[in-house]
Amino acid sequence: MTYRFTDHTADYGVEVYAFTAEEAFCDAARALYEILYGKNAAVLFRAGHQGAPAPVRMEEGTLADLLHAWLSLHLDRCVQDRRVASGWRIRVDFRRARLEGEIYMTEAAKLGLTLEREVKAVTYHDLRAQASLEKTTLHYIVDV
């Protein structure tokens, strides 16, 4: 895992460093789950793909906006449906700011997960996404 939490007065900031955009987007989501469920979120990563796969496809004007949409999808499923993504297979076209693939959603309770923190939203503040063929760096802040 290549993410870390950054200091922020009232909320949580996340920095992600990865070789590929896919790895970076995956780690960005894992960081969000750790904020939501605490260290217990590691359960998700060991759970394997559970539940039926659902297609996911999104395209935005910028890679940063794509990151926002990707994280918001996870947050919305978590808070509205109490479901988490136990796995995903995604491809990120960083030049076109496009993401597609499959995501496996399952009930958080089935994985023994309980919310530790209430996240109001993924903010646009200091939302950054830079990608090249060699590396991808992301930064986002969630409003707790």
Partner: protein, 468 residues
């Protein structure tokens, strides 16, 4: 921009627009020197400058002493636009629409609460007042009943038997903001609001039983029926997931719409919408609906608290004197009239982490869980700040820093040694909300009082603290 901050009075500073090209409004900062240092240390100054650069902003804008970094507007910011031709900024209201605070007084002597009764009371409150995450409330609202709450607020809850009719006259706008439209609230937001009315939430939301430790203004305290040495209850909560969903949806929509308005803002999260535009009107209608939901939420919470007190102290609400002192919002945009140069003008006043303080209106300022909270009274002089003061102590430590620094077991023991019983939903949550994470409430209130914006009426010490 290299910001020049000038001291213009005791605990008052100014960033004059005349000194800074691009600034459209003067900025007044109410702060002690120490607090000003904290404000300078994060991006708060940059954010308030961004606000003062917004098109059509009415001068001046204000920054309260509990200010800290936010999204769009900083927390503690107060700014206004013309109510007809100006702008409404979702970033100037905040994600938790009508996050606010309510104070209930009692006739119960605080000395009746010995350690055993304190533990029993805190356990009963923790058990019976929904707090924390994923916990549903006493009401399941959908369809017409939910729409009624969105459009009428606290009165709709009182009519369901959750409170007393006389409560309503002690709530800002009688707990019901005009212009709310349930149709402007999305199905996703309504789904989140289904079972959250009457729930506290988590984070910095809390329920505190407090001792009225000292009365500074006996006449006002007497009028408000707050007596030294008695118990009081303070509730801090907002519009819950419904409000967050409304905010998030309109933030996204306003960000997309921004290029069409032909303006530039320094921060996309300011996200201004012309009040005359369809989207601006829709946001105002939805914001007011979410605000009404928050008033309803706090009304339902107080009803649950009254029930616990009636059982724990074996009395009736009337017999125990369980009275609402006031309920006030601190994340909202309100249309209010102000006179300038003999002309009365309707302004849309944005208060983000800031509390309305009309003359002689109760103003409730929660501190941290270990020190004190304050009950203030608004003053005529507060007209200079759109009748607005601070909303709390304001954070100084980040959540990650607080978690690293605070030993929760030691915190709970230390508070218990001070006679404060704490019950929280999670250790991480308690650590993040530890007293050392917040500014000194005395300095915050000093900065407000010295500038004549409000006056101290009573200081309240926590006795029982429930965190989500």
């Amino acid at each position: 921009m290299d910001v020049k901050i000038r001291k213009v009075g005791e605990h008052k500073y100014c960033i004059p627009k005349s000194d800074h090209p691009g600034l459209r409004a003067d900025i007044y900062i109410y702060a002690t020197e120490q607090i000003l240092g904290a404000i300078r240390a994060d991006q708060t100054c940059t954010q308030i400058v961004n606000v003062a650069m917004m098109p059509d902003i009415v001068s001046p804008v204000h920054l309260m002493p509990d200010a800290h970094f936010g999204y769009g507007f900083p927390i503690g910011a107060v700014a206004a636009f013309d109510a007809v031709d100006g702008w409404v900024s979702p970033g100037g209201v905040g994600a938790d629409i009508n996050c606010g605070v309510r104070l209930m007084s009692t006739d119960i002597p605080a000395d009746e609460l010995n350690e055993k009764r304190r533990k029993s009371l805190v356990e009963a409150l923790f058990r019976r007042v929904p707090s924390g995450l994923g916990v549903g409330g006493p009401l399941k609202l959908s369809g017409r009943p939910l729409n009624d709450v969105l459009e009428r607020g606290a009165p709709a809850i009182v009519e369901k038997g959750l409170g007393l009719p006389e409560d309503l006259s002690h709530i800002e706008d009688q707990g019901s903001i005009e212009g709310a439209e349930a149709a402007s609230v999305s199905d996703a937001a309504k789904k989140r609001g289904f079972d959250q009315c009457g729930t506290m939430g988590s984070g910095n939301h809390f329920l505190e039983v407090q001792r009225v430790e000292k009365i500074f203004d006996p006449a006002t305290a007497g009028r408000w029926r707050v007596s030294e040495g008695t118990l009081a209850v303070m509730i801090h909560s907002g519009s819950r997931g419904l409000g967050y969903q409304v905010s998030d949806e309109f933030w996204k929509r306003s960000k997309k719409a921004l290029p069409s308005f032909g303006i530039e803002v320094a921060d996309a999260q300011l996200s201004p919408l012309p009040i005359r535009s369809d989207l601006g009107r829709e946001y105002l209608a939805a914001m007011r609906a979410a605000a009404n939901y928050a008033f309803a939420n706090r009304q339902a919470l107080m009803h649950l608290v009254r029930g616990v007190f009636q059982d724990e102290f074996s009395g009736t609400a009337e017999g125990l004197g369980l009275r609402l002192v006031y309920d006030v919002a601190h994340n909202i945009a309100k249309e209010e009239s102000y006179e300038s140069a003999g002309v009365t003008r309707a302004l849309l006043v944005h208060r983000k982490g800031a509390t309305r303080a009309f003359p002689d209106q109760p103003v409730i300022i929660p501190g941290d869980m270990g020190t004190a909270s304050y009950l203030l009274a608004g003053t005529v002089a507060a007209r200079s700040s759109y009748y607005t003061v601070c909303h709390g102590a304001g954070r100084v430590l980040s959540r990650t820093a607080a978690k690293k620094r605070v030993d929760v077991g030691r915190l709970v023991r230390e508070l218990r040694d001070q006679g404060i019983e704490v019950r929280g939903g999670s250790k991480a949550g308690l650590a993040e909300e530890a007293p050392e994470a917040y500014k000194d409430i005395e300095q915050v209130v000093d900065a407000v009082e010295v500038n004549g914006l409000a006056r101290r009426v009573a200081r309240l010490k926590p006795v029982c603290v429930i965190k989500g």
